[in-house]
């Protein structure tokens, strides 16, 4: 078996907060193959974005990283800084949640796109403009020549997100980190953006890490899904199977918290308590305080993912599983 395109192993990140290092990620392992879309799902503050930022090299100064980030058989944590930067620039691209905040407001769309092309592909001004037009056409933006001379405020959020995807595509990356690329957009625009991303994946064999808090969206578009809680991955399964049969109590609770379109309307189920960050996690299983199945054993258990076909970080998964999956109504079909 060849090494996956992106191979993150036991990644842990600590950030300095008031001169004190606080853990934000613990024991995160994710693999993304070429042409594969892997979903990273979790609540706000669960560490999804921080994982992407660690891979893209965007951690704030003073961050302490341990573990391994492998890309195409090379280690991003061991190569020297220049080599890592070159690799990240040429092979890894990132699309952010809020395109309006992530594009310089005082410069034209054309300047933004062409600058990236000229830096990374070393093309001249005229070639860059032509390429930029092509790129905008690829992401389905009508009238690209006009767009190039417009300012970000003249474009809608959906159009700007296409521009940002075009800029990401410009370097012909092999891995795309999509950090909630559709969260700020309308549902219809969301579908179009997802179609573009899916097309890129199929045509160019782009590996994609798709970060979202929308479990159903992830289940619909991803091959595999990792669920994060308090800076850890608590469950990883193929998307369809996770959707049909979530095994970690947290994933199950998430699934139960969704509004149901079919069947009689009833009050939404909510997970008791509030989501916690990694540094607030109690010893033992981090989900323990909110978990309906928590027992004494969960306090002593050191959280980790059991190797195996379904990777679940729950000490009681085997004894809970049959009862738990049966307790979720309407999920047998998938």
């Amino acid at each position: 078996m060849s090494a996956p395109l992106l191979d993150v192993r036991s990644l842990a990140v600590e950030l300095p907060v008031r001169r004190e290092l606080r853990p934000v990620l613990a024991d995160v392992s994710i693999a993304v193959d070429a042409g594969e879309m892997v979903g990273l799902v979790g609540e706000s503050g669960s560490g999804k974005s921080m994982t992407a930022r660690a891979i893209a090299g965007l951690l704030p100064p003073g961050a302490r990283v341990s573990g391994e980030i492998g890309f195409d058989g090379r280690s991003l944590t061991e190569l020297d800084r220049d080599a890592v930067r070159r690799l990240r620039v040429s092979d890894i691209a990132m699309v952010f949640q809020d395109p309006r905040a992530h594009i310089n407001p005082v410069r034209r769309i054309g300047d933004y796109l062409c600058e990236s092309l000229r830096i990374n592909l070393h093309v001249g001004r005229r070639d860059a403009t032509e390429l930029a037009c092509d790129l905008l056409q690829r992401v389905g933006l009508p009238d690209p020549t006009r767009r190039l001379s417009q300012y970000p405020y003249e474009l809608s959020g959906g159009m700007l997100q296409r521009v940002m995807i075009a800029a990401a595509l410009a370097v012909k990356p092999r891995l795309l980190l999509a950090d909630e690329p559709t969260t700020a957009l309308d549902v219809t625009v969301q579908a179009e953006i997802l179609a573009i991303l899916d097309q890129m994946r199929r045509e160019d064999g782009l590996g994609m890490l798709f970060i979202t808090h929308d479990l159903e969206l992830a289940a619909a578009v991803c091959d595999r899904i990792c669920v994060m809680y308090a800076g850890r991955i608590v469950e990883e399964q193929p998307a369809a199977r996770l959707y049909a049969r979530p095994r970690h109590p947290y994933t199950q609770a998430l699934m139960q918290s969704r509004p149901q379109l079919e069947g009689p309307a009833h009050d939404l189920h909510a997970i008791p308590g509030v989501p916690i960050s990694a540094y607030e996690a109690p010893p033992g299983c981090p989900f323990r305080p909110r978990c309906p199945y928590a027992q004494e054993v969960c306090e002593r258990w050191e959280p980790h993912i059991e190797p195996g076909p379904t990777r679940v970080a729950c000490v009681r998964v085997d004894e809970l599983d049959p009862a738990a999956s049966a307790s979720i109504p309407g999920l047998t079909g998938g």
């Binding site: 090299g57 100064p61 620039v89 952010f96 905040a101 594009i103 310089n104 990374n120 940002m164 370097v171």
Partner: protein, 289 residues
């Protein structure tokens, strides 16, 4: 009914008509005055009715007349012409100071804010030291050390006003470099230099321009004080500050026109620049909210 509805509608402007921005009337007045002063300085040779240095000892301290609308000074020189020519040296000095302090201050401020850490600590420390020196005192010191004339005071005042620019640029840089689009640029492989030049500076330009405009008014007064003290522009050149100092001798003898006219120009120029600067900085801070 229909006609009254129509009457309340604003007339639709044709597209070719230029859009006139809605500004407070005071700002309009200031813009007009500043533009007038700049034109006056540029067109002095055309506008001035007489040679500002032509001495006519037969008519000293003459009152207003057709030939001399504002009268003449002690040496019989035409006051109006001297005021018009005086706009040049009175405006060029502050312009040079503002340009120099803005360019250097921008570089220092961006460097400190962008690099952070030890570079920032050292730079900010040096800037604090420079703040402690009164600008006019420094300029007087420079003029008395390196000889009278505008050059030494201009260099000294540029140094004195540099910290004001550098400090506001540093603050703006600290805010701007944390903006999400900066992270997006970094992922794209944009170098720090390009990020500063093409992205940071255009975004902090409004703050820079407002701060420079505020400085302009102050420098105008500072340089006038230096010329008044006899350390700046030298006689027989026409300069407002110099004219105030030359004119004060004759105030007691009942001919206050020269001192009054030159002072009036100062007040008008400084007030106009300050109103413009205030309005600019209000707009800049307002946009950030």
């Amino acid at each position: 009914m229909t006609s009254s509805t129509e009457a309340t509608l604003a007339p639709v402007k044709p597209r070719w008509m230029p859009r006139i921005p809605v500004l407070p009337w005071l700002v309009w007045v200031s813009i007009t005055i500043v533009a007038g002063l700049v034109l006056m300085a540029l067109l002095a040779p055309v506008l001035a009715p007489h040679d500002p240095q032509a001495i006519d000892l037969s008519a000293p301290l003459a009152g207003p007349s057709a030939a001399h609308p504002l009268g003449t000074d002690e040496a019989g020189r035409d006051l109006l012409s001297r005021l018009i020519w005086g706009a040049r040296s009175s405006l060029i000095g502050p312009l040079a100071v503002v340009l120099a302090s803005t360019v250097v201050g921008l570089a220092v401020g961006v460097l400190a804010g962008w690099a952070g850490g030890a570079v920032d600590t050292v730079t900010s420390g040096i800037l604090d030291l420079m703040f402690a020196f009164p600008g006019v005192l420094l300029a007087i010191l420079a003029a008395s050390m390196f000889g009278v004339g505008l050059r030494a005071p201009i260099i000294a005042l540029s140094l004195a006003y540099l910290p004001w620019i550098a400090r506001s640029v540093r603050g703006a840089t600290l805010v701007e470099k944390e903006r999400p689009y900066m992270a997006a640029l970094r992922v794209q492989g944009t170098s720090s230099f390009t990020m500063c030049r093409r992205h940071l500076i255009p975004n902090i330009a409004p703050i820079l321009i407002a701060q420079s405009a505020i400085n302009f008014g102050y420098v105008l007064v500072d340089l006038a004080a230096i010329s008044f003290l006899g350390l700046g522009v030298q006689a027989p050149q026409a300069d407002w500050g110099l004219m105030v100092s030359e004119g004060q001798n004759t105030i007691a003898t009942g001919a206050p026109e020269q001192a009054l006219a030159a002072s009036f120009m100062f007040v008008v120029a400084v007030v106009s620049f300050n109103i413009l600067a205030d309005w600019l900085s209000d707009r800049v801070t307002g946009e950030d909210e």
